[in-house]
């Protein structure tokens, strides 16, 4: 019964402290329901019982305006409930801030509007946090620009990312799977697209994944690698493939763009070629396509030369039928 109720109210419980927090929720929930029922019952009962009936004469009403017994009850019962809530809230909170010594440490960087994850044994992922199950994971968070907040609902955990200071959160995932990550501190135009996934793997599988990180793509053909990078490097948060404009222009039919003229917001224009694409990935703020805000972050240092080649190759493959 309680399990089904938990499923109704909450996302899955994946971290070790999730069930404790949900239980705290249910404690407050049932106490609140009890108090609320008393309030509503009292209100309805008294207003109907003492209603002014039709034709009834106005009379002097009771001068009772005080009852020590009732008032102390109204004071003491909520006080007890609130005290339990406070202590429970703090105890559970301490579990959430004291990081176990054997936690693996992953660096999380928020940047408008994607997440970068740096792993302890080298290697980086974008918008995909990969962690082993049943092992504490410590996240060290910061931001490269404005405030962001890193929220994993299934872990019941959240922490702001600041540009000037590191914040820390941790969790121990108990179930393998793929779960949502949201940005919960407003960060501008792409805020609602600044999502990511956390992928929880068996520890053995994670080890294997971590050792292959960065090397697996070496022998892919360029255009296939580009297609992978399109989601892996978060291009898709701002550029669609189906023609709808998000924050940036869509990639629909980019294969036919080569040789065409591109007009910028300062009135200048250029002919689209490989170099234009390369510079608009590495120095996006220098030439802004007319009709769009210049908000793209630079990918300098985030893409290797081969990866840049791959993205350009990928854009060349997109003809009118390309839809994902």
């Amino acid at each position: 019964m309680l399990d089904r109720l938990t499923e109704f109210f909450f996302p899955k419980q994946v971290s070790t402290f999730a069930s404790d927090i949900d239980n705290l929720y249910f404690f407050i929930f049932y106490s609140s329901v009890a108090l609320f029922v008393i309030v509503v019952f009292g209100m309805v009962y008294l207003s109907i019982k003492y209603r002014h009936r039709k034709g009834e004469e106005l009379k002097l009403t009771s001068s009772k305006d005080h009852s020590t017994l009732l008032e102390s009850m109204f004071f003491i019962i909520p006080l007890i409930l609130v005290s339990i809530t406070f202590v429970w809230g703090i105890r559970s909170y301490l579990k959430m801030v004291i990081v176990p010594d054997d936690a693996i440490e992953i660096k999380v960087t928020g940047q408008s509007w994607f997440w970068t994850f740096d792993y302890p044994d080298g290697g980086t992922t974008l918008n995909e946090l990969v962690v082993p199950s049943n092992k504490p994971v410590k996240l060290v968070l910061s931001s490269k620009d404005v405030l962001h907040s890193f929220f994993i609902p299934v872990m019941r955990s959240k922490m702001d990312c600041l540009p000037n200071r590191y914040n820390v959160m941790w969790f121990d995932a108990t179930k393998e799977g793929v779960y949502d990550i949201f940005c919960t501190e407003y960060c501008g135009t792409g805020h609602s697209q600044m999502g990511a996934k956390v992928i929880v793997m068996q520890p053995a599988q994670y080890e294997e994944w971590a050792s292959e990180l960065g090397s697996e793509d070496d022998d892919l053909p360029l255009d296939e690698l580009g297609a992978k990078l399109y989601t892996k490097k978060a291009c898709n948060t701002c550029h669609t493939l189906d023609g709808s404009a998000l924050v940036g222009p869509s990639y629909l039919q980019t294969s036919q763009m080569w040789g065409q003229e591109r007009v910028f917001d300062d009135g200048t224009s250029t002919v689209i070629d490989d170099n234009y694409i390369r510079s608009s990935i590495l120095e996006p703020m220098t030439q802004i396509v007319a009709g769009y805000q210049g908000v793209m972050p630079t990918y300098q240092g985030l893409l290797s030369d081969r990866e840049l080649d791959a993205l350009i190759a990928f854009l060349k493959t997109l003809n009118e039928d390309s839809q994902i």
């Binding site: 309030v39 009292g42 209603r51 002014h52 106005l58």
Partner: protein, 540 residues
């Protein structure tokens, strides 16, 4: 009826200049009321635009940019242009001098100045909209607000200016309560609405300067790059949050205390019963105003502040909860052995008790640090503060308008339509915001223009009911104004609910230009329904 009683503040003196330069607190209150309701509708329209965009997951009607502008302006307009200035400014201005038996507020010219300062600030806010909006959220968190290319400066300048109006009105009300009471009207004989305005004013004059300083620092940061919030220059963006919430949490009490006052008037009058626990309500108003200054850190539970601060702020937060809870029980017990009439104001008061209790109880969830980490910046918070601000303050405001409408304007609205609209507001409100608690629990972040498929069902419920809510509020307000047009006048001596405070017993409806024809003599306390029978007189 003598010629003199036909003269009232609405018809004497005449002419547009007599309104624009009026020193009469009632006329100034009326001007606040009109501008407040105008902004209320504007903010409400923006809310509906957002809700309809959120009916389905993608960008269906408006783009991310437009959505971000809409939610920022919705919050800023509702808070800074409607709730904070309009309730003390409109109902407070019209009623405070009447309730203490004075001819006017202590400083009538200052009162008019307050209104013009408010209008001047509002012009900047309107300029912001015309000039393309602002997209930072009403909280203006740095560093986003120092980098955004939208109209941050005009908006913050507007808020800065409106702050002075708030401070001056607060000063005026405090002086009025201290110095303008008629002989015999001691503190414990004051209507509780006066206590509430007094508490509100104390918060206004002490907290608003902090907001003003914060807004100035933000503007300086943008113009001169002084670096107080900029890490590159040794500043700290989190410092901004401390400054901002040091004002904005007390501001919650600027918004809710007048509502408490309204409810403390409506329930005893419409129950014809002495209010339960007068002194407790009076003192808890002041203590809530004070404790409200010590809990700002609970807005920053995920900002990375120290564990010790988290514990302290969580602890103090609960100290606000307890007296508020006892107040709710006091209002309910007031009905015990009374004669309760189900009039439109009473319906609003009962709706307030229902909705505000939910708003208050969900605050307890958010005060528990461990649980707040999950709920912070999700729709749970959105639902919580709408239950407090709209379900609490605005429902009480509508109740207050219905209660004092015949008094203020000498006209009576259609009570059947008023009751139906009140029911619509109640149902529409719950339909709109209750699903949002669930959205938040399931992890839906706030301030999202688009969202994940998993949330679509609850979002579309919320949107559907927001339409009903919008229509109901529109009908409720139009029904009030229709009584003007229809000239459904009540007799100047009417006391339709049997109120006991001076504005009901000692002056005509609408009141005389100088409030009372002669200085009123206090005959009984504000809620002495156990000692005096006040007839309900309502003659057309």
């Amino acid at each position: 009826m003598s010629e003199n009683t036909k003269q009232n503040y609405l018809n004497h003196p005449k002419g547009i200049m007599s309104w624009l330069l009026t020193l009469d607190h009632k006329r100034i209150g009326l001007m606040y009321l009109f501008s407040g309701i105008l902004f209320f509708f504007l903010g409400g329209l923006l809310a509906l635009v957002m809700r309809f965009e959120l009916a389905a997951p993608g960008n269906d009607i408006i783009s991310n940019e437009v959505y971000n502008n809409a939610y920022t302006l919705h919050g800023a307009i509702m808070i800074f242009l409607f709730i904070i200035p309009a309730i003390p400014g409109a109902l407070g201005n019209i009623l405070l001098p009447l309730m203490v038996g004075a001819k006017d507020v202590a400083f009538p010219r200052l009162n008019l100045a307050s209104f013009y300062i408010y209008s001047f600030g509002a012009l900047f806010a309107m300029y912001t909209i015309i000039n393309g909006g602002v997209d930072t959220g009403w909280t203006f968190y740095t560093p986003y607000s120092t980098q955004s290319t939208s109209n941050v400066v005009p908006m913050t300048l507007g808020i800065f200016i409106i702050g002075f109006s708030s401070i001056l009105t607060g000063l005026n009300f405090i002086a009025t309560v201290h110095k303008m009471r008629i002989p015999g009207l001691t503190w414990y004989k004051l209507p509780l609405f006066v206590w509430a305005l007094y508490g509100t004013s104390l918060v206004q004059i002490t907290a608003t300067p902090v907001l003003a300083i914060t807004m100035v620092l933000l503007m300086l940061e943008r113009f001169l790059g002084i670096g107080i919030f900029d890490p590159a220059l040794g500043g700290d963006p989190v410092l901004y949050q401390h400054f901002f919430w040091f004002y904005s949490h007390p501001a919650v009490y600027i918004m809710i205390l007048p509502a408490f006052g309204i409810i403390s008037e409506i329930i005893p009058v419409h129950s014809r019963k002495k209010i339960w626990g007068y002194k407790f309500i009076a003192y808890s108003t002041l203590s809530i105003a004070f404790i409200g200054f010590l809990v700002w850190g609970h807005h920053m539970f995920t900002s990375g502040q120290s564990v010790f601060s988290q514990i302290v702020f969580s602890f103090i937060t609960y100290f606000v909860g307890i007296p508020t809870g006892v107040k709710i029980f006091s209002w309910i017990l007031t009905m015990y052995k009374g004669q309760v009439s189900f009039t439109p104001p009473m319906f609003y008061a009962l709706a307030f008790l229902f909705l505000f209790t939910i708003g208050g109880l969900t605050g307890i969830f958010l005060g528990a640090v461990a649980l707040d980490i999950h709920l912070h910046d999700t729709y749970f918070v959105v639902a919580h503060f709408h239950y407090v601000m709209q379900g609490g303050t605005i429902v009480a405001f509508l109740g207050g308008l219905h209660h004092w409408w015949p008094k203020s304007f000498g006209v009576m609205y259609n009570q059947t339509i008023a009751n139906i609209a009140a029911l619509g507001v109640f149902i529409g409100f719950n339909g709109t915001f209750f699903p949002q608690f669930l959205l938040g629990l399931r992890g839906m972040p706030r301030r999202y223009a688009t969202y994940d498929e998993q949330f679509v069902e609850l979002h579309s419920y919320s949107t559907f009911w927001s339409g009903i809510l919008g229509i109901s509020i529109f009908i409720a307000v139009m029904n009030l104004f229709w009584s003007f047009i229809k000239k459904n006048k009540v007799d100047p001596g009417s006391n339709p609910w049997g109120g006991m405070t001076l504005e009901w017993t000692h002056t005509s409806s609408p009141p005389h230009p100088h409030n009372f024809e002669e200085e009123p003599v206090l005959q009984h306390g504000p809620y002495d329904y156990d000692q005096v029978i006040v007839e309900k007189t309502y003659k057309k």
